[in-house]
Symmetry: C2
Subunit: 234 residues, 2 copies
Amino acid sequence: MKRYSGQTRMLVAVDCIIFGFDGQELKLLLIKRGFEPEKNKWSLMGGFVQPDESFETAAASVLHQMTGLEGVYMEQLLAFGEPDRDPVERTVSIAYFTLIDINQSKLQLSDNYHAEWISLHELPGLIFDHSHMVEMALEKLRYKAAIHPLLFELLPSKFTIPQLQILYEAVYDVTFDKRNFSRKVLSTGLLVKQKDKDKLSSKRGAFYYKLDKRKYNAKFNAFLNFVTDPGNLK
Amino acid sequence: MKRYSGQTRMLVAVDCIIFGFDGQELKLLLIKRGFEPEKNKWSLMGGFVQPDESFETAAASVLHQMTGLEGVYMEQLLAFGEPDRDPVERTVSIAYFTLIDINQSKLQLSDNYHAEWISLHELPGLIFDHSHMVEMALEKLRYKAAIHPLLFELLPSKFTIPQLQILYEAVYDVTFDKRNFSRKVLSTGLLVKQKDKDKLSSKRGAFYYKLDKRKYNAKFNAFLNFVTDPGNLK
DNA sequence: GCAAAAGTGTTATCACTACACCCATGG
DNA sequence: CCATGGGTGTAGTGATAACACTTTTGC
């Protein structure tokens, strides 16, 4: 059996929407595109899928090239395929979104791509349909994090409850009552209190917590209602 | 600007996972594949994406060819792209899932494809990775319908509350208390009681309801908790 | 000793679960 | 008149939201 005849073949790429959190704001890792067309315009990091590569492998390799990281949280967002989304030739793109701890020691941004963390409130225009991809990724992040304990992927392995609250507030652009917030997150049973405190952001210091990995894996897919009806999510 | 050089181009297809409900069971519309390889094996309906077609257009056209229907509920599930998923040559598939009213008058199954409605409990093995696609589609249907008023797409425009309950029970493979069920669905405010009754399934007859289209569109994306934590959904 | 952030408890409301009986009708 | 499925109400429980004061400590 040869090939399917009379059909058009297309380029297939992956693009990565990479979220990070610096303790205050939600950020996106963007690059300045290194080749024509749209050279030097802001862009998501991406790459063509190679003949023997799965999408996941391709996306992980893009992420690895750019950040040096492996094994981080990554999920397929959607396939984008408008016929004219890339003016050069028809290219379908499988978008992946990724959550990483912006301060982790292994993170080493490659110099090759002029990558920068950019606040979601200060996003420049992006090439092709990348702005649309970012919009969809943010929507999905908000949707999913309202129900699943997802945002921990953006924090270091030791974090305080006030830090966690700032993160949720940044993602949903709201404020929460800290008494209710801490009761809710502690009631999930996912957090283990540590003996030491973070003294950087207050004189008194705030206790560190770690995720209980067993429970985290077990409960990841349960509906946890981290945020109750934050607006009108999809 | 010419084309990107040195990259491999691939076939791109769409496959449709088509759900229907016959009043008792959840069903899938499958065809017997009409060409090699795997000719005459059970398969999802699909087709190659044409050079000037978006994925949505391609999927809608596949559905139209097969059922005569237009404008039905359709949503991208995921892109599938393992290098060897199609033994003939590398083909990526964008899977769409669709909900249709199995009894609607416009539904006209094309003879060309030997299409049949098959109960989810009696699924045959499917070609390629289609069984995996079905699994993922069912998971997504359950996930989404637990939170959003999605399953109405499987019913005729006039339906009774007992019919709706049977549908939810079929999707989640559980039984609900009918008092609690009707209170919950009525409390959404999405249903408008009609004056006439369905007398087919009982002597007393059950009142028909219709969706309030305004509220349906407005509330579709709100979190409605149609089903409270049915197991451990993703 | 004071400014700044951490930590904690109570009350009212609401949504959910479990559960049992009467109603309308066709045969 | 009876069998079948339709329709409704209540009480107990658990989760949520609103709300204010005390603790710690670096300066």
